[in-house]
Amino acid sequence: MPEWLGRLTRHTEGLLLLVILLLGLLLTLLSPYFLTLSNFVDLIESYSVTTVLALGVFVVLVAGGIDISFAATASVAQYVTAYVATAWGLPALLCIPLGLLVGLALGCLNAALIYYLRVTSIIITIATMSVYFALLMWVTGGKSIYALPDWWSSRIVLWQTETASGDLVRITLPILVAVVAALLTWLLMTRSAAGRQLTAMGGNVEAARRLGVDLAAMHFLAYGYLGLMAGLAGLLQAHRVGEAVPNAMYGNELNVLAAAVLGGASLSGGLGSVGGVLLGILLLAMLQNGLNLLGVSPYFFQIVIGLVILVSTSITGLSTRVRRRDRRAAAA
């Protein structure tokens, strides 16, 4: 193995990049539609909601927790906002902050339950997922809101151009939102003291506590941030489809988790990067898109996703184990 390849594959991100490049090459050879600008931009747009959610999940994973109530949170935030926007006719400037606030509040509720009751995060968030979603279905009776106001449902194109082949390439609002969310998450995790403390808490809670990290504040930050992202994703999803359907996002938790995990976020905390999460999403998106273009049965897609998760996590797990053994051998 040449040296650059060894250096590239030492990190999950490098390995992922390599796989993505190989997959991209394969799909380009197999389908003429794959490597076009419009396909690529469409891909990013259709995965914008997943991206925003996965970034939030990533922060919680790095902090050493897990949260699977985010899809329910997003649905609640989306519906509440849709309700006040249609029934009360509130303007966008009030509705958007309200949606984000609802998400933030539900996330903070998760944090409070997890921190003050000292119950494992997965148990609490399974419970709150169930409660949030059931309350939503009970209150709304499962009714969708179709008549969203124009400011919300009309498509916002920031920039568009026609390629030589005649395809229309549009940079739309969801793409911008996903990019801003990624930047914000990157800033939080790598350029702020709070981000370093979150990572420290995920790596070793006791060590972080003894260093004087405020664990309660960190819990509120991690789960609150995910709640905020979930609220944002809820608003974005309604913007993309033009309606608020109470159960539209429910049941998508595991795909989002898979995207974050593919990018190297470890469930034991303290690991992962925003770049890795984005690459993980890109890999999933390319797989789905490529299989579609190749005319593979959509039924088959789930099998591929499962295999990709198993293989990628096994490689990460094995390489960690081998590295630890090497280090031990070197120390002896």
């Binding site: 595991l254 988790l257 898979a258 039924y299 789930q302 591929v304 295999l307 996590t313 990460t316 184990r321």
Partner: protein, 213 residues
Amino acid sequence: MSATLISRLTRGTGPSNAVGLLALLVALVLLFTLLLPGRFDNYGTVQSMMFQLPELGLLALAMVIPLISGGLNLAIIATTNQCALLMAWIMSTWMPVGAGGIETAAIVALALLAGLVLCTAIGLLTGFLVATMGVHPILVTLGTKSLIDGVSIWLTRGTVVSGLPESFQWLGNGVLLGVPVPFLVLILAAVAVGLVLTRTSFGISIYMLGSNL
């Protein structure tokens, strides 16, 4: 007597909250009995609960073992579904028309065996990935869940496999001495899992694994 009973209930292995749950159960029964006079406190209600409960109960028994070992299995439902599909497929396609009692019994037994083998194989693969590859159980089972569901949907094209022999349906719908058969199955399984967990070295090892890996 009641003091020893309570202390025995609270002592159990691990952070047992049996007393709290029992109290909650009693409170719920009282509440529903008061709110729905004559409609809740009759044997029909109890019987219908005994029909509904076993599926959840058996799945919870399946989940409790990985939980005690410090893991989690997200793929239990997917595994159950796939194994049910396999059993139903064997019973509905291999059964000759007008099969006699022995033939039916043989094929039902074969189907049950095949389902159990499939479930065990999936479980062993999951265990292998968790133990040998060192991957977090949530991730492994997230992958296996997706994979198993994908295979099930891909093979069946999302359609239903039906046409099970009537003698087999007794297992789900039958009543024995006033008690639904599925409930008896649950009791048997619960006793078996309980014995394995508390009376075998394998079971105790699982607790030890969970408390300190």
